[in-house]
Structure formats: structure tokens, C-alpha cells
Point group: C2
Chain length 159, copies 2
Amino acid sequence: MKRNELLAAGVLMAVAIGLSGCATMAKTGSAAFQTAVEATWRTYCSSLKAGDADTWIALWDENGIQLPPGAPMVVGRKNIEKAIRGALQAVSFVDFTIDLAETETAGNLGFARGTYAATMKPQAGGPEAAINGKYLTVFKKQSDGSWKIYRDCFNSNTP
Amino acid sequence: MKRNELLAAGVLMAVAIGLSGCATMAKTGSAAFQTAVEATWRTYCSSLKAGDADTWIALWDENGIQLPPGAPMVVGRKNIEKAIRGALQAVSFVDFTIDLAETETAGNLGFARGTYAATMKPQAGGPEAAINGKYLTVFKKQSDGSWKIYRDCFNSNTP
């Protein structure tokens, strides 16, 4: 091989490594993302049942946006925190479960889809209320490699 | 430069090109994705107003899933088509507008978020009804490079 051929071969190989590097990162990312979402939903449920707003809000990206049914969007982690603290003063969550139907990811974005069910008890007393619905949630990879809730839209399964 | 140094420099440069290639593709993808979403929402609105289910359903990925409020998920384009044909037999859309607040994309996934407003008229006669809400929609890049609606969750802004 001449010097130029050797250089050309090296360049081609390096480009190939660079490109396969992209694909490999995405593949590894899928399994890590699925695990991160499962852990997030476990903490989401346990913290709500414990009335622990600090732990719950830490699951969110600083620029997170919540799209709750029957109300306008809640923009930014600070406003989402205000909303959850208000909610936890009004009700306690007797039960909260999230079913994860699927996750899919690419680069620093990923989404999760599934259903949820909760039973709430008014803090002021009165009968419990049960809700159930479905969700579509976009997660964003943070600079430390962790995943946080970035966009969260959900609604009821019944009218 | 010796042959090995030259080779090493070429490899490093090629890796750099490969990596910046990933970043460049993502950047180009963002602008293309935003344009694709804008076009999709224009067709989404115009086809619903025209009662054109064929054009509307073509905006969806074959494995698309719709998460409408007050009802269970609708899984797969065939079932989503059945649902829209039923809806268009029940009502006509006097107006339908979608506001696009943001798009973000990575690889073959992207999401759009915003609000919508519609005015519906019962086909059987009777007063018009106005609705307005917000949405979180995940799009998937197709093998031909186009973007289709993949997951779509929406809900009302008012109780």
C-alpha cells in the first residue's frame, strides 16, 4: 500500500467506526432508557402516595411542561411544583399505579406510553375518588446521563 | 510527518468528521421536522374541515396510536380510520385550528406540542359546539424520509 492508499483506508475505517458509533449509542440508550423510565414511574407513584412533593418534583426537567386534563399547561418545574403542593394539600393518594406499555428513544429524547390508575382521598374528609387514564410522556436526557420528565400529557379513559 | 503520524492525523480528522456528521444531520433534521409538522397540521385541519378521512388518515404511521380524552387508546391506523369515519358521520368540523408551540427531534423520533380549537356541528342538526385543548404528539420518520403521526395525546383546557 502506498501512503495515500493507507491514509484513505484509515479514513474510511474511521468514518465507519464513527457511524457505527452513532448506531451503537442509540441501541445501548434504549435499554438504559427503559430502565430509567421504570425507576421514574416507581418513584412517581411512591412519592405521591407518601405525599412527598420534594422527591416527586425532582423527577422533572427544569424546563418541564405538564399537560393535565381540564386545565391549561403548567410550564416550568417551579410552576409544576406549586401545582403538586396544592394538590397534595387538597388530597392524599391512597393508591397510584402506572402501567408502562412501551418506551422508545433516540439521542437525548425518549417517550413512554401507558395507563395509570389512582385513588384519592380528600384531606378535608369525604369519600374516596378513583381515576384511571392514559399518558404520553417525553423524557429528556440530562447532562449527567439521567433522564427527566420533559413533557407529560394525560387524560381519562372515561367521559 | 511520518507515515504513521499522517495516518493517525487522517483517522482523527475522519472521526471528527464522522462525529460532526451526526450533529449536522440532527440540525438539518430539526428544521426539516419543524416544516413537516407545520405541513401535517395544515393538512390535519383542512382535511377535517373538508370531511376528507382519506387525506387525514394518510398523515398517520401504520402503527400509530391515538390517546383521545374520555375514551380508551385507539391502536393502529385501521382502528384510527374507523374512529374518524364514525366521527365525521356524527359531526362536521366548521373550524379546526392547531397552534404549534414547539417541536424537537432526535434521530427518527420527534415531538410537537401546542394547542387546538375546533367548532363542530352535528350532522343531524342542532347547535354548534366549540372545544379547545392542548396536545403532545410524537412523530416517526418513515423509510422515505417523511414524518408521520405516531403517538397523539390531547385533552381539554377546561373541566
